[in-house]
Symmetry: C3
Subunit: 140 residues, 3 copies
Amino acid sequence: MQMHSYRLQIPTRGKGLYDFTAQIARWLDETCAQNGLLTVFVQHTSASLTIQENADPDVIHDINTFFARLVPEDNRLYRHTVEGPDDMPAHIRAALTLTQLSIPVESGRMMRGTWQGVYLFEYRAVPHRRSVVLHLIAGA
Amino acid sequence: MQMHSYRLQIPTRGKGLYDFTAQIARWLDETCAQNGLLTVFVQHTSASLTIQENADPDVIHDINTFFARLVPEDNRLYRHTVEGPDDMPAHIRAALTLTQLSIPVESGRMMRGTWQGVYLFEYRAVPHRRSVVLHLIAGA
Amino acid sequence: MQMHSYRLQIPTRGKGLYDFTAQIARWLDETCAQNGLLTVFVQHTSASLTIQENADPDVIHDINTFFARLVPEDNRLYRHTVEGPDDMPAHIRAALTLTQLSIPVESGRMMRGTWQGVYLFEYRAVPHRRSVVLHLIAGA
């Protein structure tokens, strides 16, 4: 068995969900691994991960809308307001979703469902460069 | 070390939580592995995973009720309505829970707590066959 | 490759978030592992895990407040009330957060972001001793 890891940078242009499944698949190809366990870990607390449908863009729109309503950007609700009205809601939305995801690998591919895309969920309005660690434990 | 993987099919009969801890334990037995890391990955975005209490069925009832209230089936709230009133709420509930779970294994058993059961959370009204990948990295 | 595991006990003094990043790092040091995948698994359904900002304590305060409002302690909302008004909300809050976290390890350290702390989220009012399994798959 072998281990591989890589730091992926994902530039964001404001709030929303960014599908980076293709970047993960590309890195997986480069490792030449056939079987294993792939882990995706986001190094932030104001952005997170989710697996969502990659077919109808309305799904992504509705997810954004739901989280905006569930965790409002309203400074009166929070003590931590010093980093702007979008920062505390970002931390809460991150707590409600995922910081890490592990996906089994077979024949060099993630064993995800046909309609599953891996998304970075960005909660800050200002563009960021987000660091995501990719880690693989590869079988013989 | 060795790797094992298996595709489990879980038939569902409408919305609710389905305890499949016993099926996971059975597969784990078949691998004859003593120590390792077991990963459970659901290949869908309208069903998800959760670990919950397996003692009082009222806990499961209350969890269902909570998620039904938090993410209502109301087409006026969503753009993505083409797959029925239960589809978009399904995607959101999946985003709020888990797509993947990893559980350490010792002496051939999951190191879960006494009251922890592994559940598939089905959000669609119509019966489905859900695909869950079981993956194990087994120690010597 | 090698596997290590350890049962960590975390005493809690009522509801709130408990940062135990340092305890994890200490155990990681003891294994002398350089690279690997670290898994943290909580053996309860009325406490959970989250990665959150470890800089401004107001963030932690606001997260507590949000979850208290989102999942109220109000017996009229639940059937499962036999273990007290804080038990059923505990199970729901656990379902909304994490039971398990895996973090890649490099040069003997968790590859977490500068501001990321690993927290136990305790939802019960009475002091508990919480069991958390630490598991490591270590590279050569």
